[in-house]
Symmetry: C2
Subunit: 388 residues, 2 copies
C-alpha cells in the first residue's frame, strides 16, 4: 500500500427531501448572489428548477442563470459563466444536474479568480489557486463529480477533452436525493452505471501490492452496480436501486478506492479521445472500451487480479484455471453492459477506422497511459481497432 | 437506506514517515503550546516519544505532558489534563497512542471549555460545544478513535464506562504510520482486530432495508481483518498486514459503514459493563460476547443476513439451508477469534456469575439496547449467562 493523504471534505446530504438544507448551506459558505448552472430541461420537467428558485427567493438569495450545459461541457459555457459572475458580483456557484453541470460549475468557480482564458487552467498553462464556493444538487448517478476534485471540459475546436484534478475544485456540499434520478432515461442510467463501474475498475486493477482493503471495497461497489442497475432500468422509481447507485457514484471516485494505490487510469484517457472527436456519451465509450482493454492487458502478470475479479465480483468458481476465470469475467463484464442496453463496439456508436490513429496519438501525447500496464500509442491503437 | 449527512473531516496522513507533517499540521490549527497525551512506555520503547519531542523542539512548539493514560481511560486523567492545559494556557492537544489516549485527549480538549466537572459531559448533564484543536498519532489499530467523533471514558468509582459521540470531538488530523504498530504485542493485536471486526459487525447486521452498498463495504473490511490479523501475529513487522489493519480500524467506524443505517449497537454496550466492572480488555470482551450475541439474535427475521455473512465473509457454500450456513458462520467467527488467541468465555477472563444481573441492568438502564434486535435486561442477562 502506498502512502496517502486522505481528504474528503465535501459535506453530503443524502436522501429524500435533503434539499431543505440548501439555503442554509449556501449561507454557511458566504453565498448571497448565486449562479445556477444546469443542463437541459430535465430539472424543469421534474420540478426541481422551480423548487430551487422558490428556496432561493424565500431566503433572499439572488439568482443568475446559466442553462444549456452540454453533456460534454464546453469551454465556451465556462467563459460565459465566468462573465456572468463577474458582471454581477456573484459569490456562489450552484450546479444542479449531472457531472457535466458540476464539472462546468467547477471551472467557472476557479476561472472567476483567474484573469486570463480559463482553458489555460485545463491545459496546465496556469494553476487553479482559489475558487468561488461551489455546491451541487445531483440528478444523475455517474461521474462522482459531486464529491471529487476533478473537472472534465471539452474544447471541440481543438478536439480536446481534458480532465483536471485540483483540491480547490471539490464542492463544499452536495445534495444527493435519489428521487431526483427517477426520471433519468434508460440510456443515461445505463451509461452512468458504466461510468461508476469504470471508475471502480480503473482503481481496482493495480500494480500496487497489498492494497487489499481498497480492492475489497471496490468489489463491494461493483457488486452494488451489478445488483441495482438492472432494477433501476426495470423499475425507475425504485428508491433503493437509485440510492445505491447514487452513493456508489460518489464513493467510486472520492478517493476511497484510490488512496494507497496509483491514480493513473487507462480507459478514461482512451475514451476522452472518442468523446473529443465524436461527442459520444462518455459512459457508452467506457462500456465499449473496458472489456477490450481487459483482454489486451490480461497476461501472466495480471491474471491473478482478473481471477479475483471473476470470483469476488462475478461469483465464478475458484477451482478453474486462472485464465479461464479471467476470460469468463471479461465476458461477464461485456454481457452485463450489453444487458443494460449499452453498445459493445465502436461501430455501434458510428465510429469507424478514420480517426483511430490520430486519436491513439492524442491519447498518448504526454507518454504512455495507465500504470497497470502502461499503454503506448500502438497499444491504444490496437485496443481501438479490436473494439471496432 | 436511511437519510444521512456525511461528514468525515479528519485529515489522514497514512504511511511510513508521515510524521514529517506533524509540526506543520499543529501550526495550521493554531497550535503552539501542546499537551502530549500518551499511555504507557510503548511509545518510548519504539522511539516515537523522542521523535515527537525532537520535532516539537525543532519547530519551537512548547510541550507539556500527560502520560500514563490507562487502557480504559479514567475521568481522573481527563481532569488532570484539563488542569495542565488551563494552568499553562495550552492551545493544542496531541494524543500519541491507541484509542485510550485519543479518547482521553478528546475529552480533555472538550472539557477545557467547560467550566464544571468533565464527567458531566459524559453523562449528558452538559453538552460539548467547543474543543481545543486535537491531533493524533496512532500506535494501535483498534478503536478507530483517530477518525471518529467518539470518546469512551471510565469512572471506576461509579462502575461506569460511557461512550459519548459529538461532532466537535473529531480529530483535526491523524498520522497513521503502520510501522508504529510493529511492536504491538500479540494480545493487543488480536484484541484490536476483534474491536475493528465488532465495529463492522455492529454496522453490518441491520434492520434497514436496502443499505446494500454499506453491507458490501463492511464485508470488505471483515475479509481484510480475517486475511491480515493472522499475518500480523505471525510476522509483526509485515507492513501490508499492519497497513491493512490500520486503515480498516479507521474505516470501520468513521461513518462509511453506518451512513444510511441505524447506529444503535448491541455488543458494545454489553461489553462496556464488563470493562466497567472488571477492567478487562475491550476487544477481548467483544470477542467473547459477539458469537453468543449472534446465536441469541439468530431467528427467522435475521437468518438471511447471517446467510449473507456466511457466504460473503466466510466463503461458505450458498446452497445449504440458511440456518446451517448461519450457524457455521457463527462458529467460524468464534473459531477465528480463538485462533488469534482471544478468550471465548467470560470465565476465561475471570468473570463469574456474581455481577451478571447488575451488569445487565446497568447495560439497559436507558431502555433496550441495539436496533437489530432490541435487547431487554433479561436478554442481556441471558447472553452474559450463555457466555459464562
Amino acid at each position: 500500500m502506498r502512502n496517502f493523504n486522505y481528504s474528503t471534505p465535501t459535506q453530503i446530504f443524502f436522501g429524500k427531501d435533503q434539499i431543505n438544507v440548501l439555503s442554509e448551506q449556501i449561507r454557511i459558505f458566504g453565498g448571497s448572489r448565486v449562479l445556477l448552472v444546469y443542463g437541459g430541461g430535465s430539472i424543469k420537467r421534474i420540478g426541481l428548477y422551480d423548487k430551487v428558485l422558490e428556496i432561493l427567493k424565500t431566503n433572499d438569495l439572488s439568482l443568475f442563470e446559466l442553462g444549456g450545459i452540454d453533456p460534454n461541457p464546453r469551454i465556451e459555457s465556462v467563459r460565459q459563466g465566468i462573465k456572468i459572475c463577474r458582471d454581477n458580483n456573484l459569490d456562489f456557484v450552484l450546479a444542479v444536474g449531472g457531472g457535466s453541470s458540476i464539472d462546468c460549475a467547477k471551472l467557472i468557480a476557479a476561472g472567476f479568480y483567474y484573469e486570463s482564458d480559463p482553458w489555460n487552467l485545463m491545459i496546465g498553462k496556469a494553476k487553479c489557486e482559489k475558487t468561488l464556493p461551489l455546491g451541487s444538487i445531483l440528478t444523475l448517478s455517474a461521474t462522482g463529480s459531486e464529491m471529487d476534485n476533478f473537472s472534465v471540459i471539452s474544447n471541440l475546436e481543438a478536439h480536446q477533452k481534458i480532465g483536471l484534478g485540483n483540491a480547490v475544485l471539490v464542492p463544499k456540499f452536495s445534495i444527493l436525493d435519489p428521487t431526483y434520478t427517477y426520471s433519468v432515461p434508460k440510456k443515461q442510467t445505463a451509461a452512468g452505471t458504466a461510468d461508476i463501474m469504470s471508475h471502480t475498475i480503473e482503481n481496482y486493477f493495480t500494480v500496487v501490492k497489498g492494497a487489499y482493503l481498497q480492492s475489497r471495497l471496490a468489489e463491494g461497489i461493483l457488486k452494488t452496480c451489478i445488483q441495482y442497475a438492472p432494477i433501476a432500468l426495470e423499475d425507475p422509481e425504485n428508491y433503493e436501486a437509485r440510492a445505491n447507485l447514487m452513493w456508489s457514484s460518489s464513493l467510486a471516485i472520492n478517493g476511497l478506492l484510490s488512496y494507497g494505490k496509483e491514480r493513473n487510469w487507462s480507459c478514461h484517457p482512451m475514451e476522452h479521445e472518442l468523446s473529443a472527436y465524436y461527442d459520444i456519451t462518455h459512459g457508452e465509450g467506457l462500456a465499449i472500451l473496458t472489456p477490450y482493454w481487459m483482454e489486451y492487458v490480461l497476461n501472466d502478470a495480471t491474471v491473478e487480479q482478473f481471477k479475483d475479479y471473476g470470483i469476488n465480483v462475478w461469483g465464478l468458481k475458484p477451482n478453474e484455471d486462472p485464465y479461464i476465470i479471467a476470460q469468463q469475467a471479461i465476458t461477464k463484464t461485456r454481457e452485463f453492459f450489453v444487458s443494460l442496453g449499452l453498445p459493445s463496439t465502436l461501430r455501434d456508436v458510428n465510429i469507424g477506422e478514420e480517426n483511430l490513429k490520430v486519436m491513439a496519438k492524442a491519447a498518448t501525447k504526454k507518454g504512455t497511459i495507465g500504470e497497470f500496464r502502461p499503454l503506448t500509442t500502438e497499444d491504444v491503437y490496437n485496443i481501438y481497432k479490436s473494439a471496432l
